[in-house]
């Protein structure tokens, strides 16, 4: 698209919808399916073909207290989730999610998900970390699995159901930014058709953000290249806050040095972690549940083992995940996908050799603040949570918050379908009512978006290659985040990080591009993604620096304890002046008694 065209929105392709969903992962597709079944005019935008969304990579399973293998109920699930969240999760939302779980998982089964089966023909479930029966008494078996390809099974099934429902898709379309009308209300969004390089305007009464996570911020991570947190950055640029951005989950068992995930299912099926002495060390950190402690606990334990010199390998920089005592048939049947990963990337067969693992950035607990209807919340001047008209967020990019300071394995797939559906139901009701907001032809404020697009259009330089490049800045950003904002943080590393980020930001402003094409211009896309990552890095650094306690995945070496007195509250970060405000945690569930914060022992 030429600058002249960019300057003249009348030349853009313009579409009108009742609602637009940004993201075709599990969250976006579940939501789209609900809306497609009503008469609303809805479209889904995704920067990759839907089944390439990163939900496809989820391995272990989805939690629901079906009780197919051992006694279970949603109340225990709720307790575990709250305890797992280190009491930062909102208990109303957690109750809502755990109560919906059994029904929504069965619904997925009816949609066609090829779950593994028990001998009785019901859905197979496996134990996962942080799960218990009777409020912490004994290990529960709650994670519903389709071998170790649960995410693939769910994502493909949801896409298939959307094909059946006739959902409209804009595939390989990159959402650039939210569009507001003259009143400052959300009125749609601008997208870039990647194949043709054309800018398009989607006008809509409502926008649902479902753009997934952003672990591309870190050097080693389990995420896809596309997980750059675009929706989150769009929200910040729209002047709205992000919540709890200091909480990033490091998964204990990433392939050491590379980052690919070896699912918690490996430990659920009986795998153990060993240090250089061959000792199954988790007993020293979680005497009761050992390897099935919550992820933050296990990740820290591994980091401590390595730090104290008990790491394996020539550089003593990892520990081993050992499944060799399990029946090879069990591994082949229940964990075929991760056995493949170890074979491909390490050349090791888990059936007869332990594999090197180290914590790897995996999941963001923070995100766009919402209520449990998926409505995006901001804070009024009086400090009250107020919904933003016409804007919803669901899935990993949202912070409802059901995961608080640490997510339990198997709870994210649940989160994305539960709140994907809930948001769609709320939206359906809202759309059925009269349109009190944005008119189809009201004037829009497109200037900031035009400026941003024009900047990257003009950044192309024919001159001899500049020293700097998008790839180089991205690498340095990932290294800085890994170094200063990893499993352990301190005042010093975080202050250092804020300074590094400012410098990186300055480089990004100046960097030039070499690709002038309109069609499939990846360099330009990566530049915009990097802008988004940079914004989120800053949100993380400032939120983490401010939180002077250790809670869940946020471990401050200089403040090693949880401090409920001062910090039992959610952080809200605004882009403008890096302003931080806070909001209380919900401790009053919908129908049952709340769980008071207690010391967290596994």
């Amino acid at each position: 698209m030429s600058l002249a065209e960019l300057d003249n929105p009348a030349q853009w392709d313009i579409y009108h919808f009742d609602a637009v969903i940004v993201g075709a992962g599990g969250a976006g597709l579940r939501s789209a399916l609900q809306l497609a079944q009503s008469d609303q005019n809805v479209a889904v935008v995704s920067k990759v073909f839907p089944t390439r969304s990163h939900t496809v990579a989820a391995q272990g399973g989805i939690n629901a207290a079906l009780g197919n293998l051992s006694e279970d109920n949603w109340h225990w699930h709720m307790y575990d989730t709250i305890k797992g969240s280190d009491y930062l999760g909102d208990q109303d939302a957690i109750e809502f999610m755990c109560r919906e779980a059994a029904e929504i998982v069965r619904e997925l089964e009816h949609f066609g998900v090829p779950f593994s089966r028990t001998d009785a023909g019901t859905i197979y479930q496996r134990p996962f970390g942080g799960q218990s029966q009777r409020f912490g008494k004994s290990q529960a078996t709650r994670t519903c699995a389709a071998a170790d390809r649960t995410g693939h099974a769910i994502l493909h099934t949801l896409y298939q159901q959307n094909l059946k429902a006739g959902t409209t898709f804009f595939n390989e379309a990159f959402a650039v930014d939210l569009v507001k009308d003259a009143q400052g209300e959300v009125a749609g969004l601008v997208i870039l058709d990647i194949a043709r390089g054309k800018v398009q305007l989607l006008r809509a009464r409502s926008v649902v953000l479902a753009t997934g996570g952003a672990c591309q911020l870190f050097e080693t991570n389990t995420n896809a290249k596309i997980n750059t947190g675009d929706g989150l950055a769009m929200v910040l640029r729209a002047g709205l806050p992000l919540q709890d951005m200091e909480f990033w989950q490091f998964h204990p068992t990433g392939v050491a040095g590379k980052g690919m995930l070896l699912s918690e299912a490996a430990r659920g099926e009986g795998g153990v972690l060993r240090n250089a002495e061959g000792r199954a060390f988790m007993v020293d950190y979680a005497p009761n549940v050992k390897d099935l402690a919550s992820r933050d606990v296990v990740a820290r334990a591994i980091a401590v083992e390595v730090k104290e010199g008990r790491g394996c390998g020539p550089n003593k920089d990892h520990v081993l995940l050992d499944l060799t005592h399990l029946d090879a048939e069990v591994i082949k049947q229940r964990l075929p996908g991760i056995r493949d990963i170890a074979l491909t990337f390490l050349g090791l067969d888990m059936c007869d050799s332990p594999v090197p693992v180290y914590p790897t950035a995996h999941y963001m607990m923070g995100g766009i603040p919402t209520d449990f209807h998926g409505r995006v919340l901001t804070q009024s001047v009086q400090g009250e949570a107020t919904p933003v008209a016409g804007l919803y967020a669901i899935g990993e990019c949202a912070c409802v918050s059901v995961h608080g300071a640490n997510r339990l394995g198997g709870n994210s797939l649940l989160d994305i379908v539960v709140f994907g559906r809930a948001a769609a139901r709320h939206l359906q009701a809202a759309l059925a009512g009269p349109n009190t907001r944005t008119q189809a032809d009201s004037p829009l404020d497109l200037a900031p978006i035009q400026q941003r697009l024009a900047h990257w259009q003009q950044a192309v330089s024919d001159e001899a290659r500049s020293e700097d490049s998008v790839a180089a800045i991205r690498r340095d950003l990932q290294a800085a985040m890994q170094q200063d904002c990893g499993v352990f943080r301190t005042e010093e590393t975080l202050t250092q990080l804020c300074a590094s980020l400012a410098a990186l930001q300055a480089r990004l402003k100046k960097v030039s591009l070499q690709d002038a094409s309109a069609a499939f211009n990846l360099e330009r896309l990566e530049a915009m993604e990097l802008e988004n990552l940079m914004t989120l890095a800053t949100a993380t650094a400032y939120s983490a620096l401010a939180r002077k306690e250790s809670r869940g995945a946020h471990s401050r070496m200089d403040y090693p304890d949880r401090d409920d007195q001062a910090w039992l509250k959610h952080s809200l970060y605004f882009l403008q002046d890096h302003r931080l405000t806070y909001k209380p945690v919900n401790l009053t569930p919908l129908t049952v008694d709340g769980f008071e914060p207690k010391a967290r022992v596994y």
Binding site: V56, Q160, D515
Partner: protein
């Protein structure tokens, strides 16, 4: 190491051409995947264009033709390839730019086999208090067909698909078709088989087996197609 890569830059060149690239050997380790190497080459020339996402062979974005074989670059070890490594877009579909092809037709075939479970009559409500029961043996039959990642390596290496890309469903779509035909929960088996019973849709398959040879997930579409044919026989006998 030498690479020779197909370039098609429609905005600046009328014709596609092959471009040579060189990557220092010390940057290639035993565990370097082709995608990693391509990313290094992209730093030399940021206009080099290819799709990629998950980096671990589950999203199916980065199918390409390497030394004549369709592969996913993210799970192909560079060291395993004889140099020069010749990389082209997967054959048989239009090229958008460099290694990026237009997979529309491929997706349309997938859509046209009704790739979704139909466990109930259209107006029947579903009972969400219970799952549809399926024995482990019945479930096991789905192994080998539900794992498809729609990368297109099979269809774009299939001569029958090259010959009739708009009419022959191709291996991936037929694999998906089989997945629903054999699912014990689906009640539309007969209709599905009837719909597939067509000189073009299914019966262009000539058992060439390129699909099976090129599937990065180790699936066997060729066998699936034969199974569909024998299921049609069984249906006639029943």
């Amino acid at each position: 190491m030498q690479f020779s890569i197909y370039r098609y830059q429609p905005e600046s060149h009328d014709e596609p051409y092959m471009q040579s690239f060189e990557l220092a050997d010390d940057r290639i380790n035993d565990d370097t995947m082709l995608l990693g190497a391509l990313e290094m080459l992209r730093e030399q020339d940021p206009t080099l264009t290819f799709r990629s996402s998950c980096k671990e062979g589950v999203c199916g974005s980065d199918g390409m033709n390497v030394n004549g074989q369709n592969v996913l670059s993210c799970i192909t070890q560079v060291k395993s390839l004889p140099a020069p490594v010749v990389i082209r877009p997967m054959p048989g579909l239009p090229v958008i730019r460099d290694l990026v092809i237009d997979m529309d037709l491929f997706y349309r075939h997938y859509e046209s086999v009704d790739p979704y479970l139909q466990p109930t009559q259209p107006n029947q409500t579903i009972d969400l208090d219970h799952e549809l029961l399926q024995s482990p043996q019945e479930r096991e039959r789905l192994d080998g067909s539900y794992e498809c990642i729609l990368c297109g390596c099979c269809a774009t290496s299939c001569p029958s698909f090259w010959w009739n890309p708009d009419q022959f469903h191709g291996p991936a779509a037929l694999l998906a078709a089989r997945r629903f035909v054999i699912d014990s929960r689906d009640i539309t088996t007969r209709d599905r088989l009837e719909k597939l019973d067509d000189v073009y849709k299914t019966f262009r398959c000539r058992n060439i087996q390129n699909c099976t040879a090129s599937c990065p997930k180790g699936l066997n579409p060729s066998q699936a197609i034969n199974e569909l044919k024998s299921l049609m026989l069984k249906k006639q006998v029943d």
